[in-house]
Amino acid sequence: MLAGLRGSNNEGVLALVLVVIVVAISILNPVFFSLTTMFSIMRGSIVPLIFALGVLIVIISGGIDVSFAAIAIFSAYTAVKIAQDGNFDPGLIVITLMAACFGALLGLVNGAVIANFRLPTLIVTLGTQGLFRGVLIAYVGSKYIANPPMSLDEVAKTNIISIVNEQERGAFLHVLVVPVIILTILVAWMLKRTMFGRAIFAIGGDDEAARRAGFPVVRIQMMVYILVGVLAAVAGVFHVTLGRNANPQDLVGNELDVIAAVVLGGASVFGGRGSVLGTVLGVLLIQVINNSLLLAGVPTAWQRAAVGVLLIVGVGIQALSAKRKTKRSFVTAQLGA
């Protein structure tokens, strides 16, 4: 029963850690424990969570993509720039769709290189990260766009829950939380309930076994990277919307937070393991930590250090438990014999 509570990817442990941290911070700093903080953490999680869903998918498939932030800002900035240059305002949905097309295209570049040339995914996406960013700044634009389309501004100012109480701090839940929740549920459904999801787990577990079982491994890998590109583009547009500006220098450099969240969420860096629930918890954990360190007045440099340490701890736990597992299966083999 305890194992059941722990969850297949240690989600239970993570949830417990999250609760303990929240309680601890709230005791130290009662201001933290409020609807205001909760809503602001949720708002802060919008963009990283969408990124994290993409990273989760690619990590389960046995790869990694560090170009997602570059894809995000490329796609979002380009879509916004097209609207601006053309002097039209197609609205959030159309801008998101436009960006998604760019994201898919850049994801396809990643996927094509990785799947066809069997190159290490980290190196390829590190390369394309630079490439996408270079192309964006050299060919699309390097100028900061301070006034994105009005329709995005409207969305930026829309909250689904607004509580303005006597204290000067109101609590506002941003409307973009809704599409993120929908996306999260869709990705969870895709991973758990569809053939595509099963294929992703199979490839991450043993790509040769997946190939022999008849899965079109190359095609599925391409689709994974395209999907990551699309998710990144959506995150990019949401980032631009929330920030109310489009800066081509943005986002790249903050990949660590997202990857750390996914790994802490139990996704195995060796591939084949991971869950959406764990990822959500991981993202929330990183947000809570960043938020509380901010409240405590810790400089941002130390926040990054903290996240870095968390990432290493997460990977360390995985490596240890992997080692323990091989030992255990050896023991059962001995007993069985």
Binding site: R193, G214, G272, K325, S329
Partner: protein, 249 residues
């Protein structure tokens, strides 16, 4: 004598200048275990890769149920009912038994995975082979012993409606008790009417379960013997080439 399930005639395969199979004949019967033996490099794996459609033969005839067949892809082989359990088993350790047994052939209900149905079918398949060694069909493969993994891989072929099950050294990495388990399973497979072709280097295993023994020597089929009418010394003679004058080339 009844018709062979699989009949190979004058099958050839070369890799560049190297002739690995030099005109091999082989018959495998339904309900029988045929052991394929031979020294390292004799061409056993190459022979079964051709049957599996993974590495098609260059020349020769393949008959399945007496019908001439072309085997150019694993799909074609699988459609005929030829399933291979490779030495590395090709299981995904991160997935559970049910997920592995249905890998690539998942049951879908209105587009989504139908887990309950697959679980029941997997349990039935294991039961039909009287497998009692696994506790739960939802255990991940990483938690299984070598023998249990072999069992899952074999049961998977049954689930895939195999008629010929090809096993590449199914007991190679196993201890005594687990070897026994797997050999029993192989025997039951044949007793239930499946054709079984088993590569093995272990003559003890071969004599324990096989009905027929086919011996490859440097790409030639030098003998196809009935287990009951031969001795391990005779088989060793063929394996090492002492018992035959092998035509080269």
């Amino acid at each position: 004598m009844s018709q062979a399930l699989v009949q190979l005639k004058n099958v050839k395969k070369s890799f560049g200048p190297v002739d690995v199979l030099k005109g091999v004949d082989l018959e495998v019967f339904a309900g029988k275990v045929t052991a394929l033996v031979g020294d390292n490099g004799a061409g056993k794996s190459t022979l079964i890769k051709g049957l599996a459609g993974v590495q098609p033969y260059d020349a020769g005839e393949v008959r399945f149920d007496g019908e001439l067949q072309e085997l150019h892809s694993p799909r074609q082989a699988s459609a005929l009912g030829i399933e291979v359990v490779y030495q590395d088993l090709a299981l995904c350790e991160n997935l559970d038994i049910v997920q592995n047994m249905f890998l690539g052939r998942e049951t879908l209900k209105s587009g989504t995975l139908s887990e309950a149905e697959m679980e029941a079918a997997a349990a039935r398949a294991l039961q039909s082979l009287s497998v009692k060694t696994v506790r739960s069909v939802r255990q991940t493969v990483s938690s299984l012993s070598g023998g249990q993994r072999q069992t899952v891989a074999i049961a998977r072929t049954v689930l895939r409606d195999a008629r010929l099950v090809i096993l590449d050294e199914p007991t190679a990495a196993l201890g005594v008790a687990q070897t026994e388990q797997v050999l029993n399973l192989v025997r039951r497979l044949a007793d239930q009417g499946y054709g079984v072709l088993m590569i093995s280097h272990n003559l003890y295993d071969v004599f324990k379960v096989a009905d027929d023994i086919a011996v490859l020597y440097l790409g030639n089929m030098v003998a196809q013997l009935e287990t009951a009418k031969t001795t391990s010394n005779e088989v060793i003679g063929y394996i090492t080439g002492i018992a035959t004058d092998v035509k080269e080339g």
